[in-house]
């Protein structure tokens, strides 16, 4: 079943066409990375999918036209983690993660034992158990990012949309985060995640959407989609692709507009790799 289906999606902000004619569909079990330079429309795409910005075209979530769904019903299907890590009040980490269960509660009902187990699992998955009783405003930026991801996981929806969840995490926790996302995708969920780190995207995502100036530049398997030519064209950086432990990794070397110096550096690294 198609969990997310976009047809000809467009978003305008003032005179600027932020997204233009975006179409794709995502099924259960896919971990889809959305990549593209700053301003390409990654965050807007995610916001449009859950109806936070006005858009044209059609959006279907689990077979339902998103505009016809009640916000509460949509919240039971999609968990969204925005790029901004705003927390207004100093709740404890445990209470904050438990907020993720509110969309599944009806009326004045309180969380059940099962809800608490889901919260506990989310906290353990993101390895923030030691912070359970800490005040969210007193933890570090990376820890806050992990707690907020635990909140999204606690929503326990079939679709997870996360906007740059790896930003600000140390390398160990970036890998840990991607492993968690990969695991929940393998469990049958649909995960849409925007990333700036091309190596994380190439290594962990089952599919990549490449956005450039609001348009879909490429859509497919990372091995097919991502190469040095695309990186140079879309991200305006010369890079070399190296293979480390059987995984492809991209090493950005210079900006395209910096002339031949960068190109020669890239060529020299390529030559060393080939030697």
């Amino acid at each position: 079943m198609e969990m997310i289906k976009l047809e000809n999606l467009g978003v305008r902000r003032g005179n600027r066409q932020v997204l233009d004619a975006i179409s794709f569909s995502a099924g259960a079990g896919e971990l889809i990375g959305v990549i593209g330079p700053n301003g390409a429309g990654k965050s807007t795409l995610m916001q449009a999918v859950i109806g936070l910005v006005r858009s044209t075209g059609t959006i279907e979530i689990a077979g339902n036209a998103s505009g016809s769904m009640k916000a509460k019903d949509l919240a039971k299907l999609v968990a969204y983690l925005p790029q901004e890590r705003e927390v207004a009040w100093g709740l404890t980490v445990e209470k904050l993660v438990a907020l993720g269960r509110i969309p599944s509660l009806s009326g004045f009902s309180q969380v059940s034992q099962k809800d608490l187990e889901i919260v506990e699992t989310a906290i353990n998955q993101m390895e923030v158990g030691h912070l359970k009783n800490a005040c969210i405003t007193k933890v570090s930026g990376g820890e806050r990012a992990r707690v907020l991801m635990a909140r999204a996981l606690a929503q326990d929806t079939p679709i997870l949309i996360a906007d740059e969840p790896a930003a600000g995490l140390d390398p160990e926790h970036q890998i840990h985060l991607m492993a968690i996302l990969s695991r929940i995708a393998n469990q049958g969920k649909t995960v849409l995640v925007s990333l700036h780190d091309l190596n994380l995207a190439a290594r962990w995502c089952s599919r990549l959407l490449v956005l450039e100036s609001g348009k879909m530049r490429a859509d497919g398997n990372p091995d097919v989609v991502l190469d040095s030519a695309l990186v140079e064209d879309v991200f305006k950086v010369r890079s070399v692709a190296v293979e480390v432990e059987g995984q492809r990794a991209f090493l950005p070397v210079s900006r395209v507009d910096q002339g031949q110096g960068g190109a020669s550096a890239a060529n020299s690294i390529r030559a060393q790799e080939n030697a």
Partner: protein, 339 residues
């Protein structure tokens, strides 16, 4: 969320202390006054037993005043807690959405036009009308219910209402009317009757019910508007509920007692750490604590100046203003630490 046994015990202790405190504050307010009536005689008078003057003082002067102190304090505490949660700002208070200033303008029009002299209930009725108009205008101006637009709309409405109130004072040819306006604007529970209570209570109860229903939405707003919307919060409906709830309850409070500041700012801030900073858990304790604070402030008014020169709004401002200053300074320090 489900709470641990320890948290349950803490909440039970807090609620018990607040409810007992409110009952105590209410009885203190009933038994204390310029007329020297001893406690037993006063309580008998309250149920209509004893000398006629005592019964009149207790039933027609002290009882309405004590009841209004509790009701208005609860209104200000609850609406302050809701607005701070809704706007995600500890500096928010009921006056911010323009309701108090507009209700005051309605009352001032009643005094200025002489309607209040001809028909005493014209004053609270026009004040309620002022609150209703401001509620509708803020609702219209705030659009999709985003916090910043709501604040701007509230400030705009407040400014217009204050300007028109100043105009009425400026143009008032009758110095007694001008003085009455000024005294009314200072806020007081003096000489209020059961009629005032009957007028205010229905609006207050409707407002309270609306405000008490938004707890879960306020909890979700802790994570920002985008996340809250993605988790099922309908910002437009929430904004309607909050503004209408504040307009009805604070409008009714202002209509019968004038503008009483700082309670709505002070009380939620004091209660917040006691409930683990969770907006939904803050509502009930803030209402109770608001009732206690205003009742005690009114007792203070009567004890300090039995000849009733001191107005209640002045006392709450005298308590609240230094607190506000401390709040600004401590918030500033926290901001610096975060950087």
């Amino acid at each position: 969320m489900k709470i641990s046994a320890r948290t349950f015990a803490l909440y039970t202790a807090l609620y018990t202390a607040l409810i007992l405190g409110l009952i105590l504050a209410f009885f203190t307010s009933v038994v204390l006054g310029p007329a020297s009536i001893d406690v037993r005689e006063g309580l008998m008078g309250l149920v209509g037993v004893g000398p006629e003057p005592v019964v009149v003082v207790m039933q027609e002067i002290r009882l309405p005043r004590a009841i209004l102190g509790v009701l208005i304090g609860m209104t200000l505490g609850l609406s302050g807690a809701v607005l701070q949660g809704y706007l995600r700002n500890p500096l928010a208070e009921p006056g911010l959405v323009g309701v108090s200033a507009s209700a005051s303008l309605g009352a001032v029009i009643a005094i200025y036009s002489g309607l209040a002299t001809l028909f005493p209930m014209a004053l609270p009725l026009l004040a309620l009308a002022g609150a209703a108009v401001s509620g509708v205008l803020v609702q219209m101006l705030s659009g999709k219910g985003q916090a910043l637009t709501l604040i701007l709309a509230g400030v705009a409405i407040s400014s217009i209402a204050s300007a028109l109130t100043s105009l009425a004072l400026n143009m008032s040819s009758n110095p007694f009317a001008a003085m009455e306006i000024v005294f009314w604007m200072l806020g007081s529970l003096e000489d209020r009757s059961m009629e005032h209570i009957k007028l205010a209570v229905p609006f207050m109860v409707v407002g309270w019910l609306m405000l008490a229903s938004v707890g879960k939405d306020l909890d979700l707003l802790t994570l920002g508007e985008d996340t809250a919307v993605s988790m099922g919060v309908n910002m437009k409906r929430l904004s309607f509920t909050v503004i209408t709830g504040v307009a009805a309850s604070v409008g009714a409070a202002t209509a019968v007692a004038g503008a009483i500041g700082f309670v709505g700012l002070f009380v939620p801030h004091v209660m917040r750490p006691l409930v683990g900073n969770q907006p939904s858990k803050l509502l009930f304790p803030s209402a109770l604590a608001g009732g206690i604070l205003l009742s005690l402030a009114d007792v203070g008014v009567r004890v300090i100046t039995p000849d009733s020169n001191l107005k209640l709004g002045v006392v709450t401002a005298l308590i609240g203003a230094p607190f506000f200053l401390w709040l600004v300074l401590s918030t500033g320090r926290r901001e610096l630490q975060w950087r």
